[in-house]
Symmetry: C3
Subunit: 183 residues, 3 copies
């Protein structure tokens, strides 16, 4: 009798355990980071961390295009910091590109990687997704990772933390990993 009860309990525990492993909703790891983007405008070559490299017909490479910048591609190598201060010691670089892809509002498509290199974190985190910039928070996908983030997947919530004209912006990125692998 006791053995049967044990079996049932065991069965329930194991099913729960298997499910939880691959489908948990609670993050297995979290990180909050900021990155800072200074777009080249023809006069700030020393400070700029990004550059317009493609533009729609009639556009140019030192000024974001009209029509909500539709058609601009910007390449970036931005410092990542632990707080919202551009001058804090960087913990890595955010590298990749964004594309302004809407004609009637500010929306971008992002493809980039966080390259982290500190005593706390060694490795990369790769992101992809749509960024409806005018919304307070936007979720994009964390599609992969390497090093300390080996095979990780998750969701990143992006917030525009500062925005100064068309030259500087700062994004706060709340990364929640739901699929963590370790070795």
């Amino acid at each position: 009798m006791g053995a049967k009860v044990s079996l049932i309990i065991l069965f329930t525990l194991l099913i729960a355990s298997c499910s939880a492993k691959s489908k948990q909703y609670t993050p297995c790891k979290s990180l909050v980071l900021f990155f800072h983007d200074i777009i080249y405008n023809g006069n700030n070559a020393g400070n700029a961390t990004s550059a317009i490299v493609a533009a729609p017909e009639g556009g140019n490479l030192t000024k974001l295009a009209g029509q909500f910048h539709f058609g601009n591609i910007v390449v970036f190598d931005d410092p990542i910091t632990l707080d919202n201060n551009l001058h804090s010691k960087p913990v890595g670089r955010a590298q990749g590109f964004y594309i302004y892809d809407t004609k009637n509002t500010y929306t971008a498509w992002l493809g980039f990687t966080f390259v982290l290199n500190t005593t706390d974190h060694q490795g990369t985190i790769t992101f992809a997704g749509a960024d409806p910039i005018m919304q307070k928070t936007r979720d994009i996908s964390v599609t992969g990772g390497t090093g300390d983030f080996f095979m990780h997947r998750g969701i990143a919530t992006i917030m525009t933390d500062a925005f100064e004209g068309e030259v500087y912006f700062r994004l706060r990125v709340d990364i929640k990993f739901y699929d963590c692998w370790s070795y």
Copy 2:
């Protein structure tokens, strides 16, 4: 005796159950959607939903390049519909880019996101992959999702449902999710 048999059956069931959870072939969710791309050609600014923003040497931004459009990058914000009618009420936007990347046939590389916003579906689905356009059906990867598609992965089968000159095309996208997370 009965207990031993039970154990063996239990063991088999559990192994099967664990495997099935993470490796099932049957989709856990399916969606069929259409999206519509109208490329800007210099004369259709009002209707166009996409624009050429990069071209190879000698190319321009109002006409797709020769040599199978090799080297063109197109940025898009296309309406998504439930059927194949361009004028149906959109259920979201397909946002991202495609790159014509072959010199001897029509092939593109796609990076884009479906942003869905209806009573049925709230959330994003992100796609990446090679699109050998001349094949009847092509499979690309669904690399992530947010909202109702939280952490989802799957395969999208793309079909060219209509193609009119070099200005309009419509794609049918059969999305099959094999990894579904819920919360």
Copy 3:
């Protein structure tokens, strides 16, 4: 007594088995492939497999830009071979793009797909990530696959196997899949 011991052993085995399935560190599949990139420089149209399609201000499309090529986007359709010989029979094509994204060293962001079409392998493998070119080995993410690589994920270790001026390079790609699905 014996039944209790069996239960404990069974429990341990099953937990280990469930974990291993979704989180194993040992690759479930491995591949080593090479691909070959010949950049169009204005004089090699016949042989070139890639082309510069975007450049920063002051750049052009037949010569990689100064400042570590920062801001160049290159589109490619490169042959994949099983060994390091450019003239070996290709087993597929590497299709996608890379973006030089740093001003003070050679770093690229890669988004591309291996399209394999042989008796051994039918299907696609999609990659994304940062490539700090000057490091001997670099890890990027395998974010998805189709066909024989249905739903696969993994890590690709990239090595520059040859580099000739600014026209030819060859990459060795060690792909290790840690998440394999079959059907």
